[in-house]
Structures are given as structure tokens and as C-alpha cells.
Symmetry: C2
Subunit: 197 residues, 2 copies
DNA sequence: TACTTTACTTACCGATCGGTAAGTTTGAAT
DNA sequence: ATTCAAACTTACCGATCGGTAAGTAAAGTA
């Protein structure tokens, strides 16, 4: 057995919370997926909320890891491109995480306990910092940095959670096309708006 | 009493589904909000699924209404700007609807019955048509139309559902700023990418 | 006035929920 | 060999879920 039960529970829970949300997922379902009893789960996580909290924590950690190994270029253009690639990559590698975060964004105002943290904040701030640096260097136009980045991040996040629906909505060929084109298109949109011509 | 119980139930249900999702909302809660019994609700909608289906139907109708009164300009630029304004306006006037649709997008692959319809499709197709027209007139660059519009729509939809969280995350001043800047910024991003310079 | 339909109510149901209580098995340390 | 804690199990619980059954009050309609 390569992973601890603890980690396997978090993995199973992440998948199910992504698919059906907090209320739509029962701890029985999560435990059943690993062929252990519900009480085995409750041994590791005393409440459903605590399990959910750990799931969020690990997703946030994965986002942070990507933000942190931040290559330092002199060129703000290269730097924002690199940051964009990391963001796009995150989505493709952690689709479940992206879905859980989107659900958390929807629930945030209602379910109090986690309300204070917005989990993509580090990513947002890192990219805003790059924009502002590029602007002070005269490399970028004077866009409204936060609104600008929020739109870019939003478009990417939205696309990620759309993938399963797009897959069944479009033909195989169309799906393949949009999968290839979306990040290219978003990057171009970002740079066309940002760069002084 | 200005509205029928039927309509008041749909309104109440829309709000609660927006806030807590399908599984997180009980039909008791919805009925309680109008001070009627749960069975009064079940008199109008025989199952929870049917109520939810009607909620979706009315939201889709509101989107369609906006798409349809489509002013015809000769200029594709004016036309895409008008379409963009309508889209942005929709979000501000029907925040609950936007939240329900985002949840539906997340649940879509799991909960079968509504899986076939993607409710923003008409909006998407109308805007794609404008882009292609503008391209054939030489007014727009040769962007990948569907991917392009999907990003714009995604950014807008994402921003809309973020508003409650942003409100409690940012200071009152910052919130006011981003509220003003976001749609301006997104529109600029769209046009900078689209227009031949 | 009698009849029917609409819009409800109270009472009840089995299923499932998250969580408690009380063992049992296992593996490492003394 | 004994102890002890960690990792489970079975049994059970009250609360809440969506939905059924059966009645009632009011409002058209003949």
C-alpha cells in the first residue's frame, strides 16, 4: 500500500467534494470508496467539516507551491508569461482542486468557517505584483491591475471547471480544438491588452 | 398579494439554490420562507427536481430574452460591444441566476437529467456569430472565435459569482473600485485583442 | 344549491444523514 | 510477555431528508 489511509481519504474526499459538493457528499460514500467503514474515516477526521478543511488546505498548498517557485526574469513580459503558464498548468493537473475551489467560492458567503480565506489570493497577488512592476518599467500599459488579473484568472478557472461539460456538449473534434486554443487565446488576449505596441 | 404562490416559490427557490446549492437546500426551507407548509410546495411542484427544473427554465428564459432583442448594427464592433453590455448587465441584475448556473455547470456531469442543455449556449452562439461576421468583414482579427468568447463569458460569469466574496475580502473602497473597473477592463481586453490596429 | 377543482393542512413514513459508544485487532515499544 | 496506543469494527442514535396519504377550506361553475 503506497499511501496512508489518511492521504487516501483526503484524495477520495477531494474527488467526491469536487463532483457533488459538500452537502451532496456523505462521509459514508467517501469511506466506501476505500472499502473501509465510516467510523474508520471518523477515526482520522472527527467531523465532516474537519475533513473538508483538510481537503481545502491541501489544495491551497498545491497552489502555493506553484506560486513560490517563481522564476525571476528582468523582463516583466517573460515573468507574466511564466506565471500564466503555471496557472494554466495548475488547472490541467488539479481539475478536482479547481472544482472544489469554485464550489467554495460559491458557498463562501454562506458557510462561515472558511469564509475569511480566499484560496487563490496568493496567485492573484503574485500576478498583480508582476503587472505593477511591468508598468513601472514602462513595459506594460496602465491597466487596472487587480481587475485585469481577476479577469484572466477567472477565465482560466471557469474554463477548467467547464471541461467535463464541454466534453459532452461538443464533438470530439471541437473539444480537442477548444482545448488547444483556449490558453493560447487567453494568453494572447492578456498580452495584447498589456503590451505597449 | 402581488405574485402567485407558484411564482413566489420559484423566486424563493432560486435564492436558496443560489446560496446553498441543490443538495444543501431542503424544500422545507424554501416553503418556510414563505410561511407555507412543505406540502403546499409539493402541491405546486410534485418533486424537488421539478422545482429545480422550473428554476433553471426561468433563468434560461431571462438569458434568452436578452439575447433576442439584438440590435442590428452594420458595424460588428458596435454589435459586439452591445452584446457585451447586455451580458454584463445580465449578471448585475440576476446574480442569483448566475450563481445557480455556475452550480449547474459544476454539477452537470454528475446529475444526469439536465445534462444535455448548457444554458448559456444561446448567448455564446450569438456572440460567436458576431465575431465571425466581423472577421469576414475584415473588421476583426482571426482569433479562435469560440475559445475567445468562452474566455470573455467565463471571466464575466466568474466575476459575478465572486462579488459576495470580494465584498468581504476587500475594503469598501477597493470593492467599489474593482466593481467599476472590471467590466471596463474586460471590454478593453476583448477589443484590444479583436480590432485590427 | 350542489359539485368540482384548487390550494392548502396535519399526520406519518422509510431512508439517510453526521456522530456517539463500546468493543476488537494489530503492531511496536518496554 | 505485557502494555499501550493506533486503526479499525459493529451497533446504535436522534435529526432531517423527500415524499405519501388523507383530510379541509375556499372559490369558481353548473
Amino acid at each position: 500500500m503506497s499511501h496512508s489511509t489518511y492521504q487516501r481519504l483526503i484524495h477520495s474526499a477531494t474527488k467526491m467534494f469536487a463532483q457533488k459538493g459538500f452537502y451532496g457528499t456523505s462521509i459514508r460514500d467517501i469511506a466506501d470508496q476505500l472499502d473501509i467503514s465510516k467510523q474508520a474515516l471518523l477515526h482520522h477526521f472527527s467531523t465532516k467539516e474537519k475533513l473538508y478543511g483538510e481537503v481545502l488546505k491541501q489544495i491551497a498548498q498545491q497552489v502555493m507551491d506553484r506560486v513560490n517557485h517563481n522564476e525571476q526574469y528582468d523582463s516583466a513580459t517573460l515573468q507574466i508569461e511564466a506565471a500564466f503558464e503555471r496557472m494554466a498548468q495548475w488547472g490541467l493537473e488539479d481539475l478536482d482542486g479547481a472544482r472544489v475551489l469554485m464550489r467554495e467560492l460559491l458557498d463562501n458567503p454562506e458557510r462561515a468557517p472558511h469564509a475569511i480565506n480566499w484560496y487563490l489570493n496568493p496567485l492573484l497577488e503574485a500576478m498583480v505584483a508582476i503587472i505593477k512592476k511591468g508598468q513601472s518599467q514602462g513595459e506594460f500599459k496602465q491597466v487596472a491591475a487587480l481587475a485585469f488579473i481577476y479577469n484572466v484568472l477567472g477565465a482560466q478557472h471557469y474554463f477548467m471547471i467547464s471541461l467535463p461539460t464541454l466534453k459532452q456538449m461538443l464533438s470530439a473534434k471541437e473539444y480537442k480544438n477548444i482545448l488547444k486554443q483556449q490558453s493560447i487565446e487567453l494568453k494572447a488576449m492578456m498580452l495584447d491588452r498589456l503590451l505597449v505596441h
